[in-house]
Symmetry: C2
Subunit: 357 residues, 2 copies
Amino acid sequence: MTIKDVARAAQVSVATVSRTLNGHGNVAEEVRRRVLAVANDLRYTPHAAARSLSSRRTQTLGVVLPDLHGEFFSELVRGVDQVAREHRLHLLVSSYHGRPDEQVSALRAMRGRVDGLLVMSPYAAAHASIVEELSPALPIVLINAQSDAPEVLSLSVDNYGGAQAMVEYLVASGHRRIAFIAGPEDNFDAHERLRGYREALARLLPGEPEWVLPGAFDEASGHAAGQALISASQRPDAVFAANDMMALGCLFSLVQAGLKVPADIAVTGFDDIPLARYVHPTLTTMRVNIAELGARAARLLLTRLNVDAAAQDAQPIEPEPNPQHHNQSDLVNPRQNEPLRPELIVRESGARRGGGA
Amino acid sequence: MTIKDVARAAQVSVATVSRTLNGHGNVAEEVRRRVLAVANDLRYTPHAAARSLSSRRTQTLGVVLPDLHGEFFSELVRGVDQVAREHRLHLLVSSYHGRPDEQVSALRAMRGRVDGLLVMSPYAAAHASIVEELSPALPIVLINAQSDAPEVLSLSVDNYGGAQAMVEYLVASGHRRIAFIAGPEDNFDAHERLRGYREALARLLPGEPEWVLPGAFDEASGHAAGQALISASQRPDAVFAANDMMALGCLFSLVQAGLKVPADIAVTGFDDIPLARYVHPTLTTMRVNIAELGARAARLLLTRLNVDAAAQDAQPIEPEPNPQHHNQSDLVNPRQNEPLRPELIVRESGARRGGGA
DNA sequence: CTGAAAGCGCTTACAG
DNA sequence: CTGAAAGCGCTTACAG
């Protein structure tokens, strides 16, 4: 069942069938109807690979993630999927399970499969070379990472500002000795959050020393940090964990030790995972709208794709821009690559220190 | 950068380059090395669409889901992804957001994009026609649904057996009046769980009447069911919710009303969502290993693909089977399409009725 | 508005 | 073991 069969049945050339099916307009109305009717009767669907090969377009967006585990990635994919659907694009997902060499081949294999790529790489700039190798040929948007290559767009979460906002909140709530449970050394988000903690602490409480405990973004390391705090000679007023899983681990260890949260010690996190609102006490945290991050990254990529397409269209004859090219004026929003601001979610665990100051 | 460039640089024909890159073996060792070196130098990657068009293989598995929201789907995709990676296959994901008409076009559009399809459709047999239309051309594995078409494979969770096991546990724990919070009418899983509850109740407690409350698989309906139970003239000993979210909603409403769980009333769920181990009391439930479901569905699809490929290979000349064809003997496991058995996870909320019987 | 034909970049019998 | 050539199923200038 190919375009030839449709052409034969409709008594036209394959060129006319192609033009009709692609809505090129320059087809006589009567012929158009006939072709559409025949194609429908025959349940004809164009063969995607053939179409991609000749049109140089795959109608597919690639998403390359470090992993598919957990809510973060499913939310991200959900946001990307939503935008892709709006534009009738398909989604090819790929993960590299922490193996950078696999990511290289995964990225290379995208050639001829996707029109553009969304790449998430929390390991700071680890994959810069491959991205820069690909990006002239394939539009790429980096999520939560940066690249020196000017043609590589990127979109990130304002972890630095978010961490500052949390410290500001804790200080405003009367806390002074604020400990921080850091994330993995090689993690970009973790770094930015630590940097935000340090900056805000130095700015708001100039005399106060910083207090940083190591962590690995998992519950166990939060638990360990909590136990370290319990046995410290002087306990902090508040603990700010670089993510919610560690905050929960810490929370559990404090509660186990008989401490009251937040009366004895406040605990806050970062991410607003679903669990945050179910634990007792409920967790104060910074919410990051991951689906929104995915959706915005996808839109950013689409602008690149449309710009490129428009540039190609224009080359042959007229260099003047065609404003109605895709009726997607919302996509040329200049603020679209601004970092996403996390939102403070106040719940029980970070409440005001008993009676103020 | 095409295969021609590589051929020219290596001073061989494109056919030889193709054979080398595809590991066909019948290439002189010296030539093979030269081609590989040149291809590597040139950073050549075959164009996927061109390859697909001529080889009739896309090296891609399609996953069509009702939605991408939530842990269930991310776990499923994770399991599929793992198997796909092992076989160096790509993953095209698609969701239809509850719109059956969209699913039809989504499925059609898979032509030429994927070698096989994993389709999840909890709305009982709603999409039978489209699946049956496609399946002669495209191998399909249905997840948690069945089809009359014999060529459509399917894999499901043994919700019926799982629900029975939960009732058996509750009865063995001394509970007699066991209420059930049902799921959506049109949901296949929900139906099977209700059926399991009814069967086990009739079998184990012949005199006891069944007690079914409506629900919608969300927390709110579980909460409503809980309130209905509280105001009932005689409270049940235990409530078995058709999924965890409803169990949690019910749990919260009972605790709010001052009841003790499980002392006053036991509450159990189904699914073992992450929250289940964090609520108080922790939730007794049936665990369904969704990633395993995805992985097994993918393996089942792969056997179909390999069988078909083998059949094609065999047709031209020799009908004898080639046992070493893919060295994937684990894939021809005859038990591979057996339903996945959920596992009882005993936690606090479903504990033994005070002192037995 | 329509058709004949070239071409997209590969793979694969077919000959040698 | 190797190459010339057909063919996969489309799209798209190019003519008319």
